[in-house]
């Protein structure tokens, strides 16, 4: 009997051990090693940071295995920045932001995106007030302008109470303008936008409105997203329901849990009627 008890105990121990033994085995590594490295250069992955068409970024490796951005395969939006300050310059002086240590407020210069911006200053307007400046203050459709900025055909900002030269400098067309007629850099649109949208400017300066990435400490280094990086100033009313932000494609929904064939039941209402 003792032998039997002993062997029974051993059997039980073994049976309890077996699962633990196999349990520790790591799962087979997913994704077998890719055959050869890509034979040809794969096409560049380009995604947009905030506004499609205005904030494109090309994915590249900052360090091996550490990209500058990770892009969404579904919508083409940037999901993640490897280095938040990649490609940024100092914001320059901003009123009431003096408490931020120098160099800690950086922006991505928009001037670099507007490839023809330098031309705007010299090509057609050459520093002079054009003699054909319309007295009616309504924009005159010019094929070149329309080709560059299509939404100008129907400027949607201020419900027809503002026009081009309210924001753009009269003869330095690569600059914006303030109330004194002085030029404002196109990389500092907040100085202009804040004229009318002061409450937004205040919130933006405090970090409540808009977006900043980088260090969370209040005096830390942050890349500030300027107004035009998110809002298209020529067409803010598109999607009036979105308060100036155009509708975008959403990312994919969560995975359906086991036991659910679909999510149609979500469209029914729980309370009986």
């Amino acid at each position: 009997m003792k032998k039997l008890t002993l062997s029974a105990m051993l059997l039980t121990l073994l049976c309890s051990v077996l699962p633990a033994v196999f349990a520790q085995e790591p799962a087979a590594a997913p994704a077998p090693a890719d055959a050869a490295s890509a034979p040809a250069q794969p096409p560049d992955i380009i995604c947009f940071e905030s506004r499609k068409g205005a904030s494109e970024v090309t994915k590249r490796d900052l360090k091996p295995g550490w990209p500058n951005v990770k892009c969404s395969s579904k919508t083409g939006a940037v999901l993640w920045w490897g280095d938040p300050f990649d490609g940024t310059v100092s914001m320059g002086d901003m009123p009431l932001l003096g408490h931020i240590p120098k160099g800690n407020a950086v922006v991505k210069p928009r001037s670099e995106k507007l490839a023809i911006l330098p031309l705007c200053g010299v090509a057609c307007h050459n520093g002079l007030v054009p003699p054909t400046l319309p007295k009616t203050k309504k924009p005159v459709p010019i094929p070149t302008m329309e080709g560059l900025v299509p939404e100008l055909k129907n400027l949607q900002h201020g419900r027809e109470r503002i026009w081009c030269l309210d924001c753009h400098h009269t003869n330095q067309r690569n600059k914006l303008v303030d109330n004194f007629g002085d030029p404002v850099s196109i990389d500092q649109p907040q100085l202009l936008c804040g004229k009318c949208h002061g409450d937004k400017l205040r919130d933006w300066r405090d970090g409540i409105h808009g977006k900043r990435i980088g260090e969370w400490v209040s005096t830390g280094k942050k890349r500030w997203f300027t107004c035009t990086e998110c809002h298209n100033p020529h067409n803010v009313q598109d999607g009036a329901r979105n308060r100036g932000f155009i509708q975008i494609a959403p990312e994919s929904p969560p995975q359906l849990p086991k036991g659910m064939k679909d999510a149609k039941h979500e469209l029914e209402h729980a309370v009986a009627h």
Binding site: M1, K2, L4, A23, K258, G259, M260, H265, A270, V271
Partner: protein, 410 residues
């Protein structure tokens, strides 16, 4: 020490011998138990994804069985209490059988805990001193303490008593009786703590009410004795031991009262929740009528209600209750009804919807069913072995060589 080894050896030797019926039963249980081992292996390699549990509904068949079986274990007190506090003679003769049931039920609970855990290989983290045992904060820690204590108590009380019978000595009441009284109170507390485990979470409005512990105790004291009655019938028909009618009748009476109380509490819950029909009642509504068109548990609820009502009526009528041909049917109905209502019918709807409103459903997988059946089989295997040996000692078949027959003492 040598005496204990001899006792165990004699016990084991006796248990192993049996007729064809016995071996078929053991064989069948053994087969199911193998299934549980295989399922356990799968869960420890592939993970809980082989079950139907999700992050939304993360307690399923295992937890349901676990909760139900704690109740069955607590139900053993329905024998111990009358036997020792009221000196019910017929119950006194069979107390130790109740303790054996408690032991097997608690072991089943522990098996289901192992099945339920995400990392059973890390359960040593709960052992005090080498791990961290979060008292007094964690209800699960209290539950573990209560269950382990109950197992130990029943083990000591049951086997001490059997040993005295085996060796023909008298029970030392100055040690034994305090333990018995403690085990009576402890039985109530194991199930209360299990109820507290789920009723102390305001995130789960279906469970978050003070009625939960009393409901647990009532259903436990209905389901436990039902199982005991069935076991007693089997013992009467298959062994030398004769269990007196008065013991079975007392158990049936207890079932009647407790089943009635359980049904009353169910009615109370339905009225309170559905009168105002707030969002807190969504879980119960899912169980009873379905939610958002998802109705998989509705037939289960209503059949459990029917079972319990029919069983209650059967138990209520004295002529049916004392008819030992009909009594087992009532017991099976009550047991099944309570299993459904307390197991799947309580645990799963608690997670539907999630605290932030997502409605999903849960379907146990084959592996889960295999594991559950296997755990029940292991429990019944242990129960069979323990009962057989206990009965052998009680009728005098196993005794220490050279001692007086068991019937002579106490």
């Amino acid at each position: 020490m040598e005496k204990i080894i001899n006792f165990s050896a004699d016990y084991a030797r006796y248990v192993i011998k049996g007729g064809t019926k016995f071996y078929t039963w053991i064989g069948f249980l053994g087969l199911l138990a193998m299934g549980a081992l295989y399922a356990f292996y799968l869960q420890n390699t592939e993970g809980l994804i082989v079950t139907g549990m999700t992050s939304q509904i993360h307690d399923g068949l295992y937890f349901a069985n676990l909760v139900f079986l704690v109740g069955v274990a607590a139900g053993a007190v329905t024998i111990v209490f009358p036997a020792y506090v009221y000196h019910h003679k017929a119950m006194h003769e069979v107390t130790v059988l109740g303790e054996m049931l408690a032991i097997s039920a608690v072991i089943m609970v522990m098996l289901f805990v192992f099945a339920h855990m995400g990392r059973p290989d890390r359960l040593w983290h709960m052992v005090p001193l080498i791990g961290i045992f979060n008292l007094p904060g964690s209800m699960l820690a209290w539950d573990v303490l209560a269950l382990t204590g109950y197992l130990v108590l029943n083990f000591i009380c049951g086997f001490y008593y059997l040993y005295t019978k085996y060796s023909g000595t008298k029970v030392n009441n100055s040690y034994f009786m305090p333990l018995v009284y403690i085990s009576i109170v402890w039985a109530l507390s194991i199930h209360t703590v299990t109820a507290f485990l789920i009723s102390t979470m305001p995130s789960r409005p279906m469970w978050h009410h003070s009625m939960m512990p009393i409901r647990f105790i009532a259903t436990a004291f209905a389901a436990g004795p039902c199982l005991i009655i069935l076991a007693f019938m089997v013992i009467r028909n298959n062994t030398k031991m004769w269990i007196q009618d008065s013991a079975i009748n007392l158990l049936a009476t207890i079932v009647t009262w407790c089943l009635g109380l359980a049904l009353f509490l169910t009615m109370s819950e339905i009225v309170v929740e559905l009168y105002a029909r707030t969002e807190h009642a969504n879980g119960l509504y899912y169980l009873m009528f379905g939610l958002n068109g998802l109705t998989s548990l509705v037939p289960w609820f209503w059949s459990s209600l029917v079972f319990m009502l029919v069983a209650f009526v059967m138990f209520l009528i004295p002529s049916v209750r004392s008819n030992y041909k009909l009594l087992p049917i009532a017991c099976v109905l009550a047991f099944a009804g309570i299993w459904i209502e307390k197991g799947m019918g309580l645990i799963v709807p608690g997670f539907i919807p999630t605290p932030i409103g997502e409605v999903t459903e849960y379907y146990p997988t084959i592996i889960e069913v295999v594991m559950s059946l296997g755990n029940w089989a292991i429990g019944f295997l242990i129960l069979t072995v323990l009962l057989k040996g206990a009965i052998g000692i009680l009728v005098g078949d196993i005794k220490m060589p050279g001692s007086a027959a068991a019937g002579a003492s106490q």
